[in-house]
């Protein structure tokens, strides 16, 4: 369960933006699929980064299960993120010098556990489900947008994370790829009892979510 208590975040005084985010008490339950909607600049991505521990709140508490990520140090937050959180970005953010397979295995390589046979099998399994099995040895540059996002999805799911945070993962995809990626995400959440929080502007996909949070009122 994710718990947020009196969360406040403002960029530093010398930052170019005067944006600040204020969120009252929230709870997001396991197996819940939450969509964050709202205009650009309303703080949706900032909230994802606060939840993932990429940013630190100015005030308030962010609890991920028993782990209070807002009070953890940088190293602890990174370690937690690498193991427990699957992040998906709008621009895919695959490393161009790694093949699709190497990109998928990247979080495992950077964990202290290293690569095992079970990780290799997991890659095969995810690639098969996401329809990119024949692209495993290709570099991202040679892939279509839809394929790249599916590879990024595999990378997010490789460590079987409890939380999936997706920042407009379907924004650059055509209708069929959009449907496919969303289907894969929601299926994973159902199968693994995970929590999905996704930023989206796509109103047609909102019916797939348990809860939709409009961000219009959270910023100043």
């Amino acid at each position: 369960m994710i718990v947020l208590q009196d969360l406040r975040f403002a960029y530093a005084e010398n930052a170019q933006t005067s944006f600040s985010l204020n969120i009252p008490n929230w709870q997001i339950l396991p197996n819940e699929k939450v969509a964050l909607v709202g205009p650009s600049g309303s703080g949706k991505t900032t909230l994802l980064y606060l939840l993932a521990g990429i940013l630190q709140p100015s005030e308030g508490v962010v609890k991920m299960g028993d782990f209070i990520i807002s009070q953890a140090n940088e190293l602890q937050r990174r370690s937690y993120r690498l193991k427990e959180i699957g992040l998906i970005f709008q621009e895919f953010e695959l490393l161009e010098h790694l093949t699709c397979k190497e990109n998928m295995l990247l979080p495992m390589r950077l964990c202290d556990s290293g690569i095992s046979k079970s990780h290799q099998d997991r890659v095969e399994e995810l690639a098969n489900v996401c329809g990119v099995k024949n692209k495993l040895n290709e570099y991202p540059q040679k892939l279509s947008h839809g394929e790249r996002q599916r590879v990024a999805l595999c990378r997010a799911l490789i460590s079987r994370p409890k939380y999936i945070f997706a920042d407009e993962p379907t924004a650059n995809l055509d209708a069929s790829n959009k449907k496919r990626v969303l289907g894969l995400l929601t299926d994973y959440v159902s199968e693994q009892d995970a929590t999905l929080i996704m930023v989206t502007h796509d109103v047609t996909s909102l019916e797939r979510f348990n809860r939709v949070i409009d961000f219009t009122d959270f910023t100043q």
Binding site: Y49, S79, L82, K83, H97, L98, Y139
Partner: protein, 397 residues
């Protein structure tokens, strides 16, 4: 660490052109001083070891370095020669053991060394096959010369031909075909590259002796232009022999007194220290036409100059290397700037800062280490095979 190493390798592999360029640049920066040091060290060792085993060297007045390079390393030409009678003179002193040298001609790239059989005893050279030269026109090959001239051990009737001085000069000496009678064991010195002949054979190549058809026979009367005392002047139809065989050996004869025939140098092996001092005194107080040298001191003087130049070159290279390393550093910094997005992704995924720095550091280390390793390998090869290079360089000076 192995995973980070693998990721660093993936980056270098993907950007192989950039990586290769950086590796090659590093190789050049490191190789230049390393290779120069290696070749100078190896050459110094080779030059000194040969000079150490050559006690005294007598030659005509002129450049001491030229004389040493010619007599010991069969490189360079001496401008002045000394007459063969000095061999007899030195022998009469009973202070040492004279070995004549005539190093002027070549067979391809290999020096033809005219000498006496004493040379082989002095240098403690052993035959791998065959025998030493016994007759005019016979030769013995150094091991490398045999390989390069494709003369196999135990092959009879193999021959080598001397290279003419000047192919456009019709009056110059013609090439002489010499029968190979033996191949020497490898010595690891310049002797391996040489073609050894008796000094008289060297004189034949020089044109001081020759063999031709018998002019006394009536059949050749038409070839005789006139008689001049004991001399017979003939026209160009008289056939000169370009190979010495048992059949024509008797027709070979020398024009002039052998004692006046030239040597390019003469090794003198003194019997003891006292004899050495006496020989040095005897030939230093001559009429000014001779010089007697201790080759090691000439080589030491040469190396002193070489090392002084090396120090200046090294200082210059250090500055160039520093500048090049600054540029390489700039390339790495700019590359990291260009990879900001990739680094940000790693941060967002949760990779520890230390791991990211280690990964970038490993990329730099792998590139630089590959360059250094490659430079070291090339320098080692240069040291092994580049010794001839310094001889050629010195000869060209």
């Amino acid at each position: 660490m192995s995973e980070l190493l693998y990721l660093a390798w993936c980056y270098l592999r993907y950007h192989w052109v950039k990586t290769l360029a950086l590796i090659l640049a590093t190789t050049v920066i490191v190789f230049l001083p390393l290779g120069l040091r290696e070749i100078i060290q190896k050459s110094a060792e080779t030059l000194q070891s040969r000079a150490e085993t050559s006690p005294l060297l007598l030659g005509a007045k002129g450049s001491p370095l030229e004389l040493v390079m010619n007599s010991l390393y069969f490189q360079s030409h001496v401008q002045e020669t000394l007459p063969y009678r000095y061999v007899e003179d030195a022998r009469k002193t009973e202070l040492g053991w004279p070995i004549p040298l005539h190093v002027k001609f070549k067979s391809g790239a290999h020096a033809i060394v005219g000498t006496s059989l004493d040379y082989f005893s002095f240098r403690e050279m052993q035959l791998r096959s065959g025998r030493l030269m016994a007759m005019l026109g016979e030769c013995v090959l150094g091991s490398e010369a045999a390989k390069k001239l494709k003369v196999l051990p135990d092959s009879e009737n193999d021959s080598v031909i001397s290279t003419p001085d000047n192919v456009f000069d019709l009056a110059a000496s013609y090439p002489l075909k010499m029968k190979v009678v033996g191949i020497l064991q490898e010595t690891g010195s310049m002797d391996d590259e040489a073609v050894f002949v008796d000094i008289k054979t060297a004189w034949v190549i020089e044109g001081l002796a020759h063999g031709h058809e018998d002019l006394q026979s009536k059949a050749e009367e038409e070839a005789i232009l006139r008689h001049d005392g004991n001399k017979i002047i003939a026209n160009a139809s008289v056939k000169e022999y370009r190979e010495i065989t048992p059949a024509n050996l008797a027709t070979f004869h020398f024009h002039g007194d052998v004692k006046d025939f030239p040597m390019t140098g003469m090794l003198v092996v003194p019997d003891n220290k006292k004899a050495k001092a006496l020989l040095l005194g005897r030939y230093e107080n001559n009429d000014g036409h001779l010089q007697i040298l201790e080759p090691l001191s000439v080589i030491d003087d040469l190396l002193e100059t070489v090392f002084a130049i090396e120090r200046y070159v090294m200082s210059g290279m250090a500055l160039v290397a520093f500048s090049a390393l600054c540029i390489a550093g700039l390339v790495f910094v700019l590359s990291i700037q260009l990879r900001k997005k990739e680094i940000a992704t790693l941060h967002k995924l949760g990779v520890a800062q230390g791991k990211i720095i280690t990964m970038l550091g490993l990329e730099i280390i792998m590139t630089l280490a590959s360059g250094v390793l490659l430079a070291w390998l090339i320098a080692a090869c240069f040291g092994l095979w580049g010794t001839n290079f310094i001889f050629e360089m010195i000869s060209a000076l």
